[in-house]
Symmetry: C2
Subunit: 341 residues, 2 copies
DNA sequence: GTGAAAGCGCTAACAC
DNA sequence: GTGTTAGCGCTTTCAC
């Protein structure tokens, strides 16, 4: 580590006691302004700053939170982190970032490194949905508050900030139906877990309300891997000939665009497409992509604000509470009948 | 912080001394295997893990590095962070993330919070190019190694991993010339600083070699703000009528696309366009966008590997050394003459 | 192989 | 307003 000088050396250089020097670095005003000035000046000169670990050991606080996310792949997570970092910085907190690559095991391993005082709270988008989450008990055991955003675990009692996905999916699917689609495929990374499931529920409800029978064959449960999902989507299109595709995550829509391009299938004439995405340039794609756009930045900010409320004792932890932020539905070329007949 | 139990309580619960318990958590094998087993089991049961701040205070190490970047806006930085996080995790290090919003003052403030032992090293893409960087002396004073990626400061002696921007710019500009362009505009956020400058130098050299006179009027120095750069680009196009635009950062190319769309200017027929960008779906834009694609992920990994080498004492710090990673030039529709005449 | 004890650098009573 | 002192929880000699 740094070859820093200690508070004792600084005190000696000034002919003061270390407590006086210490006071110069705390907020309290139980110190002569001139002395403080003198101390800070000398500190600057000698390159002294109070050792963080000694301070934290005394004070039992870290002023640090952790973000744990499954991946860094898309705009959604980078926007969310941006929001989290902003709120943290406004509160003079530091932000540790961890990526699990969608592995619940890695998530558990990361959690274990956090409960030794490293952080005062955790913001997470879950990677191991559908699995056991015993390891999260560890956080509770250490009184560390947890706030979920986007992807949460239903068996964990805490706050979650997410999108109004059921409604958005319902509306997106209804929109496809209104545009004449009858065989609407649903693509998910994992349709048994929170976002995959809720989004499918909205889709299913819209079908039902639109008088269309839900067909398991038209739903695809694929992987995060681009090659695999490309193959899966290609197969689905060839075998089922859907007239529309609703992708629950951006990556699957991109793969769909690539597949249709290769197969020479025209969007939206032959297949209409809509997806969840935070892409800023959806309107500049060819075709312009219809999207359900989640407020990722807002979501990150809101989740972090809640975390701070809990850490300050102004809000109950341990209560299962889901806050829904509204997504924007942006209908563009990819999902609509040609306006010019 | 966490209401954890201490090593003393754990020792008491086991009828052992705290030194023995401590040993169970260190790597050394100066402890009976059975005792160790018993201790770890009890620790698990009671939810004990050694207090990080006490350990670090004794050991003078943080196992943490910091990333400081100007923004989170584009794929480049999220890819780079992904690479950094990966290497850090492989080395059992933690990663703190800081965003400066392109403010050198914020950068300085962040640096000041890092020199108290919080981190063992820093990876940074500079925000305050062209300004004074005295505050970075602080890192040196505390023996904290620094590695730059992408945007570096020429007055600071340390390693930097960046793209071969001069060559890429030269080639991109030459490509425009080969496609018949004579009035090629250059767009930058700040043309007086490392990336803005080097990329412009490559552009200027290509013009010169192509027998085209460099025209200051055709270079634009605009802002990070989308609205402002939209206006600036619109003005440039209207006043100068360039037949090609070379954007040194992705955002300016996106704005250019929006401006030309609004003005009804066809790309590539009326204006050809190429830019630096890490967009994965550049080929799906309309028109498919020609790009200089930097190896962002690789850059993050490489920079972090260097940082670890320095931290381990296997590499000299304090040496101005720039490692260039090769970018891909991907020429697509936006920059080329129609192949079908 | 285990225990006793010193001390990492700092903060916060408590005295003066 | 400043100094003295105890101790945060842990690691690591040094004995035994």
């Amino acid at each position: 580590m740094a070859n820093s000088i200690t508070i004792i050396e600084l005190a000696a250089a000034l002919g003061l006691s270390k407590s006086t020097v210490s006071r110069a670095f705390r907020g309290n005003n139980d110190i002569n302004a001139a002395t403080k000035e003198r101390i800070l000046k000398k500190a600057e000169e000698l390159g002294f700053s109070p050792n963080l670990y000694a301070s934290n050991l005394r004070g039992s606080k870290s002023s640090t939170i952790a973000i744990i996310i499954p991946e860094f792949g898309n705009k959604f997570f980078s926007q969310a982190i941006k929001g989290i970092e902003l709120i943290a910085r406004n509160n003079d907190f530091h932000v540790l970032v961890y990526v699990t690559d969608h592995s619940a095991d890695k998530e558990a391993a990361i959690i274990r490194t956090l409960v030794n005082g490293r952080v005062d709270g955790v913001i997470m988008s879950g990677s191991g949905e559908g699995k056991s989450h015993q390891y999260l008990k560890l956080l509770k055991k250490h009184n560390l508050p947890l706030v979920f955003f986007d992807r949460y675990y239903e068996d964990i009692n805490t706050i979650c900030v997410t999108g109004n996905d059921f409604e958005s999916s319902y509306l997106a699917t209804s929109h496809l139906i209104e545009n004449g689609c009858k065989k609407i495929a649903y693509l998910a990374i994992n349709k048994n877990v929170s976002i995959g499931k809720i989004r499918m529920d909205g889709y299913a409800k819209a079908l039902s309300d639109g008088g269309i029978k839900f067909d398991e064959q038209l739903t695809l449960d694929t992987s995060n891997d681009a090659e695999i999902n490309y193959r899966d989507i290609e197969q689905l299109i060839k075998e089922q000939s859907p007239d529309a595709i609703f992708a629950s995550v951006e990556r699957l829509a991109i793969s769909t665009l690539r597949v249709t391009k290769t197969l020479g299938i025209h969007i939206p004439d032959q297949i209409k497409l809509i997806c969840f995405s935070c892409l800023e340039i959806a309107d500049m794609l060819s075709p312009a992509l219809s999207v359900v756009k989640q407020p990722a930045y807002e979501m990150g900010k809101k989740a972090t604000e809640y975390l701070f409320e809990i850490m300050r004792g102004n809000r109950e932890a341990d209560i299962q509470e889901v806050l829904f932020l509204e997504s924007d539905l942006i209908f563009q070329e990819s999902s609509q009948k040609k306006l010019t007949k």
